[in-house]
């Protein structure tokens, strides 16, 4: 087998050196009753060409040839081939967690750069080396707020991504956290009055998302005041990280939990992505996950090490701030390379293109008879439309024209029965936006 660097002779030599007659002797510690007598029933072995053939066949059974207007937490953006070139260098791809700093300065410096970029983007003081994704980063941010304040009630805006709230619910069930839902207003943003009436000194965190699940941008200063006056922390989740290229950073937040997928990571049917957790320096010892810190070596050279490890599971075990071990290091590297490529001007320009395309799309779609804008709040690259009929039916029609229509909000928000979440990024050509509007008009004319 091509992955195994042993010849039959070498195996014999090694067995002889051990003093064993056969390899089976080396498995003598496995009770006889448990040892398999037959090979496993697995497909293969396949040559490299056959492996590729298998996956190419699967790739052809998906959505090739369709134009998609889906966002809802995962965004299609341009990625440079340079990113994969770097990621596929063996020294990055096949290296281990940088516990032995002398042999991993490449990884450690890249992590330090990632942490810096995330601070620059979010306006926070410290960021860690990554979490699994935005949803678990949000949950860990809440657990962090619980540790910091010692309280157990959490106010969660309903306008936070439904799956992010699901994850929080799963973790909360077993930790004594009590989640309280905060409604949104007709403008599509968090109901401040509701927050005001719900927040008290039992609350550890107020959790909002901005831009929120409806694409609407939240005003954070009022929320921050309400949280702070009650001694609670403001947690801001961000699913579309590119928005920070044009939007003010959430400096008012105490903790930012972000999904970094927009920075150089393909949608890849849901993962792997990269979670970001960023906060104030004073909370750093309550932060989960790895942190790369700058230091010097014996000869005064600058270097980097994993630091403040007493927070982590391999040192603190049951008293750790989190159980996270393996994180998303290579994905964080992808984001670091991607952002270095985009640079200061590029991220602004890409964000501006998204804004322009979304504004143009809204304008064209509002011309379709019966189509209304769903919420009035300012948005970045996602917005809600209200249609005159079921979004599901409309999407079924659109599919026939090879358009994957917008996200059906009614599934997660039963009262938003005819509302659809449209996402338009820089990757969608104008002609496709115009075609979408045309096909939408025709779909709405189909007799029900």
């Amino acid at each position: 087998m091509r992955y195994l660097p042993k010849s039959p002779t070498e195996r014999e030599q090694m067995l002889a050196a051990i003093g064993a007659e056969s390899i089976d002797e080396l498995f003598a510690s496995v009770p006889e009753a448990y040892r398999l007598k037959e090979p496993l029933e697995l497909p293969g072995p396949l040559s490299e060409a056959e492996v590729i053939q298998y996956f190419q066949a699967r790739a052809s059974e998906n959505s090739a040839g369709y134009t998609s207007f889906l966002g809802a937490g995962i965004y299609a953006h341009l990625r440079s081939v340079v990113t994969d070139t770097i990621l596929q260098r063996g020294e990055f791809l096949t290296s281990y967690t940088p516990y032995q700093a002398e042999m991993a300065q490449g990884t450690l410096q890249a992590i330090f750069e990632f942490q810096t970029l995330m601070c620059q983007l979010t306006g926070q003081e410290v960021a860690n080396a990554s979490m699994y994704d935005g949803s678990t980063a949000t949950t860990e941010a809440v657990l962090m707020a619980e540790r910091v304040t010692g309280r157990q009630r959490v106010l969660v805006a309903r306008s936070v991504h439904p799956e992010y709230r699901d994850v929080l619910r799963t973790y909360a069930k077993n930790s004594g956290l009590h989640l309280v839902e905060v409604p949104f207003t007709p403008s599509g943003t968090v109901d401040l009055n509701a927050v005001q009436s719900l927040v008290n000194d039992d609350v550890c965190a107020v959790v909002v998302q901005s831009p929120n699940f409806f694409g609407a941008i939240e005003k954070l200063d009022g929320l921050a005041d309400l949280a702070r006056n009650a001694g609670a922390l403001l947690v801001v989740a961000i699913t579309e990280a590119l928005s920070l290229g044009l939007l003010k950073p959430p400096r008012e937040a105490d903790i930012v939990a972000m999904e970094g997928q927009s920075f150089g990571l393909a949608p890849s049917y849901g993962g792997p992505f990269v979670g970001v957790i960023a906060s104030r320096e004073k909370y750093v010892r309550q932060m989960p996950g790895r942190l790369a810190g700058q230091t010097t070596d014996q000869e005064g050279r600058r270097g980097f090490v994993l630091t403040l490890a007493t927070r982590e599971q391999h040192i603190r075990r049951e008293k750790a701030t989190s159980n996270i071990c393996t994180n998303q290091a290579l994905c964080a590297l992808a984001a670091t390379v991607h952002l270095s490529l985009l640079g200061k001007a590029g991220i602004r320009e890409m964000a501006a293109q998204n804004l322009a395309k979304a504004q143009f799309a809204l304008q064209e779609l509002e011309k379709v008879p019966g189509v209304k804008r769903g919420f009035s709040a300012p948005f970045f690259n996602e917005f809600v439309l209200e249609l005159p009929r079921s979004v599901r039916l409309v999407n079924a029609e659109l599919l026939k024209s090879k358009i994957i229509g917008p996200y059906v909000l009614g599934a997660a928000y039963p009262e938003l029965t005819k509302h659809a979440l449209v996402c338009v990024t820089e990757t969608i050509p104008r002609s496709e936006i115009e075609r979408f509007a045309t096909e939408l008009k025709m779909a709405l004319e189909v007799p029900v």
Partner: protein, 513 residues
């Protein structure tokens, strides 16, 4: 000066797998930036530009992100290429890290994960347009069930630790349904740190169970400690000592007799695949580490994936969505599972990692047993050659990893950390030091099947040479490494005054922005 002259002799005579080479210096990307440089161009905008002040009002970020990189494409390439040359990697040589299973990361896995039609898919697109992805997931599920001998599986968890949490949440849901969630989970003192950390997050209390003199679960103690308050025992098999838990049938029986469950940490599956199956041993729930046994790349610390395989009685509690096969042979995701523990993460799982794992399994097919045999062969070969050179605290047969201790070298004031650092000069990444906790001064060595006899011999020679140095030139070992780019970084200083980001000079001087 004495150390240097000794060093040059060392380099030429005993250190065969490595030599010094020129290493480039490289500052932070921010320090290389200057205004106006750019590395990426976008295609021109084909719609009217939007006025951001009008569209965003008060939310508009007036200026660019302060301190953000401004470099050209070649500078990005050189920057990260230079950084990469400071790293060790599997592509360069062995990582003898115990319980990490640092095996070859096949390149075809990278190729297929990036295919258009796989990398491009959105989990919310219609299921009828995702059959390719769902078929991949279904086949991977079937293969992992065949390998583990378990009965149902979820591919959702993002890593081993998250798999452990998912598994314990399933355990809790089961007990809750039976009227008593119970409050304790038993953890052997040889366990990996994620085990106790996970127990706490799952809302349980950790109760430690001491290993016996042979480093195995103490059956007598287990009998005493298992009662109706114990939800489960988290067992790693083979143990973190690399030794098969021979009494696993008794362990399962004791737990089951009190209604408790047996959780198996599958981190050491590399010793079992194709040879035996946890499902047969009374295991109720287990996780796998795809970035260990199933060759997906470590990438400097992730991403991984931690599927959880279970017996049928736990199936109602699986996280949503669950993959189902319809009569027509198509696949669908079932979101309506009343007793589900819920989601442990958004979207379905680290699909890109799952693709790589399936590619690995397909490449091997039933011959995957040979990989397991080679892994165990390598570990035992190394053990045989180093027995007597290093102290072997537990003498039961090793499987895919062997644990020595530094007891012999300690007599000369040299400990496992020192030996590990000196190993770097010989061209190897250190083995796992100071773990498992039950072996003071542990040297935990797992070569994996990816090491040739030649590499194993290099490693053995290096270890023997270091043992000799520990005896005859202990200072050389204690001040290692001598040949790396940076040496003995100040970790204490890093923790005392943490510097966790770069700050632009304007920021440092206190200017606003």
């Amino acid at each position: 000066m004495p150390v240097r002259s000794v060093l040059s002799n060392e380099m030429s005579e005993k250190i065969k797998a490595a030599s010094r080479h020129t290493s480039r210096n490289e500052h932070l990307i921010f320090e290389k930036s200057s205004p106006g440089k750019r590395a990426f161009d976008l295609p021109p905008l084909d719609v009217p530009a939007a006025d951001p002040k009008r569209a965003l009002g008060e939310f508009h970020r007036g200026e660019g992100v302060q301190g953000f990189p401004e470099v050209s494409e070649i500078e990005v390439i050189r920057h990260f290429t230079r950084l990469s040359t400071w790293n060790y990697a599997i592509d360069l040589g062995m990582y003898p890290l115990g319980s990490c299973t640092m095996k070859y990361n096949p390149r075809v896995n990278e190729f297929v994960a990036r295919l258009a039609g796989l990398a491009t898919e959105h989990p919310y697109q219609p299921q009828e347009l995702s059959q390719g992805c769902l078929r991949i997931l279904s086949l991977l599920e079937k293969c992992l069930l065949e390998i583990t001998g378990m009965e149902a599986i979820t591919l959702q968890p993002a890593a081993g630790a998250q798999g452990e949490l998912t598994g314990l949440l399933l355990v809790r849901a089961f007990h809750q349904k039976n009227g008593n969630p119970r409050n304790k989970v038993l953890i052997p003192d040889s366990a990996h740190g994620t085990n106790p950390a996970t127990v706490v997050i799952a809302g349980y209390e950790v109760e430690n169970i001491k290993s016996n003199a042979e480093g195995q679960v103490d059956i007598g103690k287990l009998r005493e400690q298992v009662n109706e308050n114990v939800a489960a025992l988290m067992l790693t098999n083979p143990s973190t000592l690399g030794i098969f838990e021979q009494q696993i049938p008794e362990i399962a029986e004791i737990l089951h007799s009190k209604g408790a469950l047996l959780y198996m940490d599958g981190a050491n599956m590399n010793a079992l695949t194709g040879v035996t199956r946890p499902g047969r041993m009374g295991v109720d729930v287990m996780h796998l580490n795809l970035h260990k046994t199933f060759s997906t790349p470590h990438g400097g610390g992730g991403p991984g994936a931690g599927p959880v395989a279970i017996k049928k009685f736990l199936e109602p509690f699986l996280p949503v969505p669950v993959l189902v096969e319809k009569p027509a042979g198509t696949f669908a995701l079932d979101f309506h599972r009343k007793e589900s523990i819920g989601r442990v993460r958004a979207f379905g799982g680290n699909f890109g990692v799952l693709v790589r794992a399936l590619a690995y399994i397909l490449a091997y097919g039933p011959e995957v047993r040979q990989a397991t045999e080679d892994a165990v062969l390598n570990a035992n070969y190394i053990r045989k050659q180093l027995e007597g050179v290093f102290d072997l605290p537990y003498t039961r047969p090793s499987m895919h990893e062997v644990v020595f201790s530094d007891a012999i070298q300690k007599r000369h004031g040299v400990n496992t950390m020192d030996i590990a650092k000196r190993l770097i000069d010989y061209g190897f990444h250190p083995y796992t030091t100071a773990f498992p906790l039950i072996v003071p001064g542990a040297l935990m060595i797992e070569p994996t099947e990816s090491e040739s006899k030649e590499e194993c011999d290099y490693f053995i020679d290096a270890m023997k040479s270091i043992a000799e140095e520990a005896e005859k030139q202990p200072e050389l070992v204690k001040t290692a490494p001598h040949t790396t780019r940076v040496r003995r970084l100040d970790e204490v200083g890093a923790a005392r005054k943490p510097i966790l980001r770069w700050k632009s000079p304007e920021k440092v001087s206190g200017a606003t922005g």
